[in-house]
């Protein structure tokens, strides 16, 4: 066999800094999110609509020992962020995988880590955007507002607490496929919100729901938010975080199981 003699060593392979790749991927994610109006507009309007329907007529009373307006504003911010984590991150990421886009990016030098970081960041931006719109609506239409300091604490806690819900959405997406995951996620999300005191204060809920609530992740998620604006605590902060961490571990295990099952099916 003849050989072509080339004696030059390949040029030293340099790599693009991870931050530059992340920025490019984040810009792409945000562009796609902003142009996906059919998803974005209802996602942003739903929390505002529910707040207007369920909360605005009842802002006068007291909940958890504090004024009902800000309490329910935190409730619907929590609903908005849980939905963002479930759908904009979880279900949509699984859909990206099914579309082949993730596999295609794996051929490029972009690391899966910078891709996931970009998706997480884009989801956080969307979550923040939807909460800001809700705050604006509550203030202008309902005259309900939260002071800057407590508000910052609410956002910090609720953004961190999105993790288990993002993992649940991802697990559903991986297990049920992009088409089946969204309705199922809704089927879980809406009852979860009712049973955790998010849509409807637990004080006026039926007895069995009051018993059930402390076992649900969204209940503890809500507690993190309500206590940040001075509501009477029900259990310690550490316990709320511990329950959310436990659910995160459970949903992560589900993700890995669904991922392996899907990989094996593709391979075969």
């Amino acid at each position: 066999m003849t050989q072509i003699q080339t004696t030059t060593l390949p040029a030293q392979a340099t790599r693009v800094p991870a931050l530059r790749m992340f920025t490019a991927l984040l810009r792409a994610e945000l562009t796609r999110l902003l142009r996906n109006r059919a998803f974005l507009v209802p996602s942003l309007l739903l929390p505002i609509m529910f707040f207007a329907l369920f909360a605005l007529p009842n802002v006068q009373g007291k909940l958890g020992g504090i004024s009902a307006g800000p309490y329910m504003l935190v409730s619907y911010a929590a609903y908005s962020l849980v939905s963002t984590a479930l759908f904009a991150f979880g279900v949509a990421t699984a859909a990206e995988r099914a579309s082949g886009w993730m596999r295609q990016l794996r051929i490029t030098p972009a690391s899966p880590l910078s891709y996931f970081a970009a998706r997480i960041m884009a989801s956080l931006f969307m979550g923040l955007g939807s909460v800001l719109l809700l705050l604006l609506f509550a203030r202008v239409v309902g005259g309900v507002s939260i002071a800057a300091g407590p508000l910052a604490l609410v956002l910090l806690r609720l953004l961190l607490g999105m993790v288990p819900f993002a993992l649940l959405g991802l697990a559903l997406g991986l297990a049920l496929g992009p088409a089946g995951a969204a309705p199922t996620a809704n089927l879980i999300n809406i009852p979860l919100m009712f049973a955790s005191g998010i849509f409807f204060p637990l004080d006026v809920a039926p007895k069995f729901i009051q018993t059930l609530a402390p076992y649900l992740p969204a209940y503890h998620y809500g507690q993190l938010g309500w206590t940040a604006i001075g509501a009477a605590p029900a259990g310690s902060q550490a316990m709320h975080w511990l329950v959310l961490a436990g659910y995160s571990a459970l949903f992560l295990t589900l993700c890995l199981w669904a991922y392996r099952r899907d990989e094996a099916r593709r391979g075969g």
Binding site: Q5, T6, S99, G100, R106, I107, T108
Partner: protein, 337 residues
Amino acid sequence: MTATLSGAKGFKAARPSDEAIVVRGVSKRYGQVQALGGLSMGGLNAGDLGVGSPDGVNLELRRGELTALLGPNGAGKSTLIGLMLGLESPSSGNVRVLGGDPRLPQTRTRLGALPQDLSLPAGMSVRELLTLYAALYPRPLAVNAVLELCDLTSQARQRASTLSGGQARRLGFGMSVIGDPELLFLDEPTAAMDVQSRQVFWAGVGAMQARGKTIVLTTHYLEEAERVADRVVLLSAGRVIADGTPQQIKAGVKGATVRFVSRLDLTALRALPDLLEATLTPEEGGCKRATLRTREPERLLAAVFATGAELSELEVSRATLEEAFLNLTASSREMTA
């Protein structure tokens, strides 16, 4: 080449290498399915086969060459490409690309690929998608130059998901070259292309060849492979069954097709020596047009002339790559079946 390398260490030695890709003893299994190398298990028990070695695929692709991977569906082309791209890990053996492991990002920086099932995300324009890809590589080509190369300048602002099939394949080609890779994989590149797209695409491939790129392509269009490939690797049932220049592969099949019009009937034709296949179609005036496939056209024609039959419209054509392909894949199936 008979270089034997003991263990992985031999590969790590920094040496100027002629090979862009080295595949050694590679096999790939998905559950019960042997996709590449090893014994073909499709519907058979290992014991039924009796023959065959459990060795994997060995292949070396030289720098600067355009290699065409050919083979019927399920031959293992896409599996082999997936292994070379680092998307899959081999069940056994070793794949080296540009002297490194294709699963590492520093290797992937130096290669580009147009996948068979290209995924174009909704909501991004042609230009935005190319700009994103350009940002992932250290020394990318200019976006405008790539738009021109794949003739999508006037579609630059259009959403990528609304492109026609041929335009989408051209965009995929643009995405695969924008990082200015040393090694380019094109998996079924012309599958959905119309004539005009095909012309643009092959001009682009020509430009990449002129820049000294190593190119690996798979295609179902054998005339394309015959025209552009420096080398053809033929896969069947997960094994390499032929490897050489298109001329060498055609020469390996000594076949030819002989056509003529005469009064000879099928019985007379079947008596001819070295006949592989004969078909007859009726012509005017009781004559019949014979199409004969043979390995030895000279001996066959001598026997035809010896019958004393009157011939007209005599035509002898050498095997095309397509015939070589059919011949080789058929005989490899006979061997394993």
